[in-house]
Symmetry: C2
């Protein structure tokens, strides 16, 4: 195992973005603030995991949870400034995927 050129900040960034579902959740929130059920229904992720990931992302200060004390209460998740700053990353990822990813007809 080596430690020479590996930048800890970049490493941390990959840890966050490589965690399963995180990229998709962030990408979804780039569309705008959303409620739990909205994110849940837009991604093939279980409620338990979505809850867990949102908490992780809150701890990383990428997502914030807003409670609107209406009746019934409404809770929205939105990207923080740190989260919004990922926009460029996702734009490039989207661009790359459109240009290079082939989707074959599923036969599995």
């Amino acid at each position: 195992m080596g430690e020479n050129t590996l930048c800890p900040k970049f490493f941390k960034a990959t840890e966050i973005l490589s965690k399963r579902w995180n990229a998709l959740i962030i990408n979804q929130l780039l569309l705008g603030p959303q409620r739990f059920c909205s994110i849940s229904s837009s991604l093939p992720i279980s409620g338990r995991l979505l809850s867990e990931r949102l908490k992780d992302l809150e701890k990383e200060d990428i997502v914030s949870r807003e409670v609107y004390p209406e009746v019934p209460v409404r809770i929205e998740y939105r990207l923080t400034a740190k989260g919004l700053a990922l926009q460029k990353v996702f734009e490039e990822m989207t661009h790359w995927s459109q240009e290079w990813i082939q989707i074959e007809a599923k036969k599995d």
Copy 2:
């Protein structure tokens, strides 16, 4: 589970890039073609996994394996055009990480 707005190409992209180590391996290869032991010593990844990941990335046509029949034989891994096209993504990731990631003194 929903299936409404999720783009399969983007989804596939996240599958590739979110797989543990893949981002770091690609980022390392963006520095130039490298031998197995070089990648191995630049990342805290076991040989078994590195081997597995490189094969995955070959299948995705992101990495190619070049054999130079010298004595002793030399084997290099390099990014394909598809892999090199990820440069922008990684530039943005690097930029974001430098701007937003804090590394706290470890006390865990």
